[in-house]
């Protein structure tokens, strides 16, 4: 058990963080938005997409448009980054018009509160080690939170295919999610392997979610839903993952000691 714990411990310390928000989008305390196109252009839509990091120009008009050195022909949509859009108020020429926008700054959330919630969820690990059924139910719930987080962070991305983005956001979820189903099956069959699978899923999800600590520190999250919902999902994944690892291992220790 010491060899196993040592290897898992080192894996826990070191496993690469292959799970976070999709499309390279990151949490931040500001958000840029387009306020107007002045004068308005018929059939032309301009907006900030991908968590306010890219400008999208959709030309459904009849004439080509030039913006930031790019030509957007009728029927085309251009998406690009432009550093000017990070200023408090900004404007970018669009043909004969100007795209105007603002960047709103937000106060960071109470990170300590979210950290305490995570610790409180993790404390449930003490109880989870008492029975395989509890471990299995908790594994499914924690995994569901992880799936919801990956889905929400994928759905917020514009301009990419869903599947590659979802796979990129899922990371080690590709392993954890099937294992959670396996864990439930093992619990129904009352197999001791339930505890091992629960502990493994928990440990992997904790490591995979470490970059998501940023969700507690920043106001604006790249998530297709409320930021607090995403923080709750991250707290459940991180805290619940730790609870599963602790609960699973304490069950295994008791079993082998008996």
């Amino acid at each position: 058990m010491r060899v196993l714990l040592l290897v898992l411990g080192l894996l826990l310390v070191g496993t690469p963080v292959a799970h976070a928000h999709a499309g390279g989008l990151t949490p931040q305390n500001h958000l840029s938005a387009v306020t107007s196109v002045d004068p308005p252009l018929s059939g032309v839509q301009v907006r900030m997409i991908n968590h306010g990091t890219q400008l999208e120009v959709r030309n459904d008009g009849s004439a080509p448009l030039v913006i930031a050195g790019r030509t957007v022909r009728p029927g085309e949509t251009a998406r690009f980054r432009d550093d000017r859009t990070t200023a408090d108020t900004w404007q970018i020429p669009l043909g004969e018009s100007v795209v105007r926008g603002t960047t709103t700054r937000y106060d960071a959330p109470n990170a300590l509160m979210w950290l305490l919630i995570t610790v409180a969820v993790a404390a449930l690990g003490v109880f989870l080690g008492r029975g395989l059924a509890w471990l299995a139910v908790a594994t499914v719930l924690v995994t569901a939170a992880n799936v919801a987080h990956a889905l929400g962070s994928t759905m917020v991305v514009t301009g990419g295919s869903f599947l590659p983005l979802f796979v990129g956001a899922s990371g080690v979820g590709l392993v954890c999610w099937p294992l959670a189903v396996l864990c439930a099956g093992a619990a129904v069959a009352r197999k001791p392997a339930t505890a091992f699978v629960a502990a493994t899923v928990g440990a992997m999800l904790v490591v995979a979610s470490i970059p998501d600590f940023d969700s507690f520190r920043f106001a604006q999250l790249p998530f297709a839903g409320s930021a607090d919902l995403d923080r709750a999902l991250v707290a459940i994944t991180l805290g619940g993952g730790l609870a599963l690892a602790v609960g699973g291992f304490s069950w295994m220790r008791r079993e082998t000691a008996a």
């Binding site: 058990m1 010491r2 060899v3 196993l4 290897v7 898992l8 080192l10 894996l11 310390v13 070191g14 496993t15 690469p16 963080v17 292959a18 799970h19 976070a20 928000h21 999709a22 499309g23 390279g24 599947l163 590659p164 983005l165 796979v167 990129g168 956001a169 899922s170 990371g171 080690v172 979820g173 590709l174 392993v175 954890c176 294992l179 001791p192 392997a193 091992f196 493994t200 992997m204 295994m252 079993e255 082998t256």
Partner: protein, 339 residues
């Protein structure tokens, strides 16, 4: 009750290890393809990294399960680690730590898209740990004294290890050249050979060593069954072709055919440490066959011969001589003992 002694994981367990290792390896080759072919990799969180790292996680979980299963049965300490799995148990955390360093490296220095990907210290650390993990079924078969032939997982393991080595020698990988490029390189005007001719020639010699060494290594331990060389060539040529988005399929097919011919040679010669003459003959003939198929494939696919006959006919011969030298080094004459 406590059990003494180490146990074997078994062939079924090795099959699962190699299947998960395949997932792991395919992830790496997908990532290599993405680094070589996609110029705008803005994030660490790509589908390719997801396949690669989830493959690693699955392999790690599986190996930990094998250790835990033995622990449940009363084995403690090193006795809980199946025979041949010890180095993998050490390599798993090494790989994981290298993964974090790689993430940090990418975050600070950016994401490599050119040849530097093959020299990044964190990538080299990941590759070394990965080869140790992937070689697990090969080690378990090697240590199994009851077998005189390698298991299929061991052969797959051999092929994947060779392909990983070749991946990190990509700048000297002759298998990635399409037929047209091979014929063109060896059709230079007399007196005007350029560096690119030398590059392909050097690549052939490096690739030759990577392809031949696993077979010479395995032939020292086992009687290699028909299919050994083909299996290794399918993996090596197939994964190398994946980096080029399969633009060199014709040459990859020629190399697989050379694997079939090499298997016939293996059956005929039965090279082994005890049959030194046949072992060295194999070391000479295998490269000759491989590179004749390589140039033959290029000639058939393009419908023309390279114009400089000396080079394209001589290169397979030089490869064969270097193969003979390698065979001599693998199984040298015993040092004479003074009476």
């Amino acid at each position: 009750m406590l059990q003494q002694g180490r146990t074997r994981a078994g062939t079924k367990a090795d099959v699962i290890t190699v299947v998960l290792g395949t997932w792991f390896s395919v992830g790496l080759f997908l990532d290599a393809w993405a680094h070589s072919n996609l110029t705008e990799l803005e994030s660490f969180f790509t589908p390719w990294h997801a396949v690669f790292y989830s493959g690693f996680s699955a392999t790690a979980a599986w190996i930990c399960w094998l250790v835990y299963r033995n622990y449940q049965q009363g084995r403690r300490g090193l006795n809980a680690v199946p025979v041949g799995y010890g180095p993998a148990v050490l390599a798993l955390p090494v790989f994981a730590v290298m993964g974090v360093l790689d993430y940090t490296w990418h975050s600070i220095l950016g994401i490599e898209t050119d040849i530097e990907i093959l020299f990044s210290p964190t990538h080299l650390g990941l590759a070394a740990a990965m080869i140790v993990i992937m070689a697990t079924p090969l080690r378990t078969a090697w240590l199994d004294t009851s077998r005189d032939k390698p298991s299929f997982p061991a052969l797959l393991s051999l092929g994947f290890c060779a392909s990983l080595v070749l991946l990190f020698l990509q700048y000297a990988d002759a298998t990635v050249y399409p037929a047209e490029a091979i014929v063109e390189r060896f059709s230079y005007e007399q007196g005007k050979s350029t560096g690119i001719v030398g590059k392909l020639t050097a690549s052939i010699f490096v690739t030759n060593l990577v392809m031949l060494a696993p077979l010479l290594f395995a032939a020292r331990r086992w009687t290699l069954p028909f299919g050994t060389a083909t299996t290794v060539q399918v993996i090596v040529a197939g994964l190398s072709a994946s980096i080029t988005a399969f633009s060199n399929l014709g040459i990859a097919a020629a190399l697989v055919l050379s694997g079939v011919a090499t298997d016939l040679l293996l059956v005929k010669l039965r090279p082994s440490e005890q049959r030194v003459v046949q072992y060295r003959l194999f070391g000479f003939l295998m490269p000759l066959i491989t590179w004749l198929f390589y140039f033959g494939g290029a000639i058939v696919l393009t419908g023309r011969f390279p114009t400089v006959t000396e080079t394209w006919t001589g290169v397979p011969l030089v490869a064969a001589l270097s193969g003979l030298l390698l065979a001599v080094l693998f199984v040298p004459k015993p040092v004479p003992v003074r009476l």
